[in-house]
């Protein structure tokens, strides 16, 4: 009675462990390793960013460990602690919380490991060698140019905002600055009549856009600060039967947003280039390890993506 049970126990143990460990790779390595903890890997933006880091690092003969912070600052701090134990040559972070990341930064600084941030900057204490991100201010300007182009320079527009996030503040700032500039220089008469919080998510933006359409019956355009917000606005316009009459400008260039651009639902997006952000971050690490001067911030410009671009885009499903 006792022996077979013990045997089965051992079998189960062996099965369990082989399952758990078959996917681990050996930690014994000679190459320099870059530890990467991104905000999330559920978002294609960060997946592309991570893939680009891996590719570029391979070119320079470095290894990469990528983990997801899952929006959890405590989890990310633990991941940084593990990178420190592994004595990584460099750490790349997109902070889950711009302020709470300071303790993780302090620990990496104390261990003498250089930290680079991508997409999201760290605020507060702690030393970051270089920050690589999208030029959100310039992107906001591009969005304004697209709006002027779409409306022929006149009409009332609204902004679906999400002012809790630093990068979004820059987008709306760039948008309004460019409009103001063009009003003075080129006689554009577009007026921003409302700024509503859309939370950067589809459902909340949908409700905000519905309220907006009730209040502004002669609205000509909506600038949504990211693709989910833009898609929320599109849904509200569809429901109100005003799709096409009100032009939507989004931001990001996520696959779903690009598909909406191809369908003519969104007029245009300033798109971001996560792959360029990732590659540039690794190039900054290489520069640092070479002893070159590293700029404290590198901004990657956005580009306007219109229906014509979407029709040529092979990455979109037909």
């Amino acid at each position: 009675m006792k022996t077979p049970r013990l045997g089965r126990l051992v079998l189960l143990l062996v099965g369990l462990f082989s399952m758990a460990f078959s996917c681990g790779t050996s930690a014994a390595e000679k190459k320099g390793r870059i530890g990467v903890s991104l905000l999330t890997l559920a978002n294609p933006f960060f997946r592309d960013l991570g893939d680009a880091i891996k590719e570029e690092a391979a070119k320079h003969g470095m290894e990469v460990s990528i983990v997801s912070g899952d929006f959890d600052a405590a989890r990310q701090r633990n991941q940084v602690a593990d990178f420190i134990v592994q004595r990584c040559a460099a750490i790349v972070l997109s902070p889950c919380d711009s302020k709470a990341v300071s303790t993780a930064l302090a620990e990496a600084n104390k261990a003498g490991i250089p930290v680079f941030t991508v997409d999201i900057a760290a605020l507060g204490a702690g030393k970051v060698v270089s920050h690589v991100a999208t030029d959100n201010l310039g992107g906001g300007r591009l969005a304004a140019q697209a709006m002027i182009e779409a409306l022929g320079g006149k009409g009332k527009v609204a902004i679906l905002d999400h002012p809790e996030v630093e990068s979004v503040l820059l987008r709306t700032q760039g948008f309004e600055e460019e409009l103001a500039k063009q009003r003075q220089e080129k006689g554009v008469t577009i007026q921003v009549v409302a700024k509503l919080p859309g939370g950067g998510v589809k459902d909340k933006s949908f409700k905000a856009a519905e309220d907006l359409l009730q209040a502004q019956t002669d609205l000509a355009g909506i600038f949504a600060i990211n693709d989910p917000s833009a898609l929320g606005a599109v849904a509200a316009l569809e429901k109100a039967g005003r799709l096409g009459k009100v032009k939507v400008i989004g931001f990001d260039g996520m696959p779903e947003g690009k598909a909406a651009i191809r369908a003519g639902q969104i007029y245009a997006d300033p798109i971001q280039f996560p792959d360029r952000i990732g590659r540039t971050a690794v190039q900054q690490i290489k520069k640092y390890l070479d002893g070159d001067d590293v700029p404290a911030q590198v901004l990657i410009p956005t580009a306007l993506y219109r229906q014509a671009d979407a029709q040529k885009d092979a990455s979109l499903p037909r």
């Binding site: 681990g24 899952d70 405590a74 593990d82 709470a100 002893g291 070159d292």
Partner: protein, 454 residues
Amino acid sequence: MRSGLPTWLRDYGMVLVLGALCLYYSFATFTDQQPVGEAAGSAVARRILGDGGTPSVLVIAGTTDEDRAFAGAAVSALTAGGANVVERVLGAPRDARVVLDRLAGEGRRLAYVATTAACVEWTLLKDLNTRFPSLGNPRILIPESRRWPVFLTRQNLLNVANQITVVAILAVGMTVVIITGGIDLSVGSLIALSAVVVSVLIRDAGGGVQAGAAAMVMASLAALGMCIVVGLFSGLMVTAFKVPPFIATLAVMQVASGLAFIIAKGGSIYELPDTFTWLGRGADLFGVPNAVILMLVLYVMTHLLMSRTVLGRWIYAVGDNAEAARLAGVHTAFVLLFAYAFCGAMAGLGGVLQASQLKSGAPTYGVMYELYAIAAVVVGGTSLAGGEGRVFGTLIGAFIIAVIQNGMNLTGVESYRQKVVLGVVILGAVLLDLLKKKDWRRLFRAAATPATHP
């Protein structure tokens, strides 16, 4: 009656699983470890001096205390041994580059570069001889390495213990509630609420970054007290209104999370003094982190409560059969109220600890932590049906989860697979525990012929 080792194994069989995991990750992370600090510096100097002559040496190290000790020891040993130390560089690759450029410009020649294992990873040093041919191909020497598992380094083991503290403290409270036959889903949200409340109190009432120790203690006690009240509320719903614990604490979870967002106004609160990190990041006793000591003290106290007091026996009795316990004269309502208040208190402490570790409070903390805590309890051998379980079993369960997570990070398993593995291991550990406790043959037979089963 069984006694001695078999009984111990029945109660704490998961220790074997934990041991096996540690063993595996020790093998998997077996790698070259570089000695650091003073000893490493003298060792490199000895090797250089062993070659004889009066070589010219450049010493390069980074910015940490260990680097400084390395360079200091190397320079003094080299000078004493008659070598010519050209320069000592402490800093980033950029600083080393400036010195190398200058030396190459002056036409100096070097016999050796003495540096650390971390700095030799700099591409600057890897390509030294192609970049600076005029230096005369100096040999780059680093301290000799020894083979040792990364997992078993002191720093990493402390990491594992430190990383699990918050979940382990939640889990000890959860153990008590689960032994009563209940469950508390609100603890994750209470982490957020407690962290936010303690941060807001320190910022607004305690003087912000200038807050003193007394103010911080008061704020922590206030946050703790509030979580006890929330726990009592859950207990009241369960006892007075007979709301099922799952539903009562699910509602409280929503309320607590919402309150945390309202109090924090959606953002994170970071205007806290540096000294606030004493609890979460300090290590005053033999280098053991204060958070780990707090965790161990709580486990010992709870173990004594559950095994040596009348209240502890009542808690087991209520979980085993509430009606029988009531008839035997146990104040079941009091026992349940205590269990939920205790669980709330542990969550409150966990929240203060989390805020201290991250030096900020945010309503986004603690998401899913209730599930990690429940997993630790169940992996630790406590039955979800109530009435049985061991406090230290939960600690083992928490460590199993922490070791798996840490080990997978060290061996470079990517995030998605980590989740799958963690889920499978939790399930496997629980199955293993069942296998030990129950006669599986009878179970299988019963499953095969359900109709004949009475």
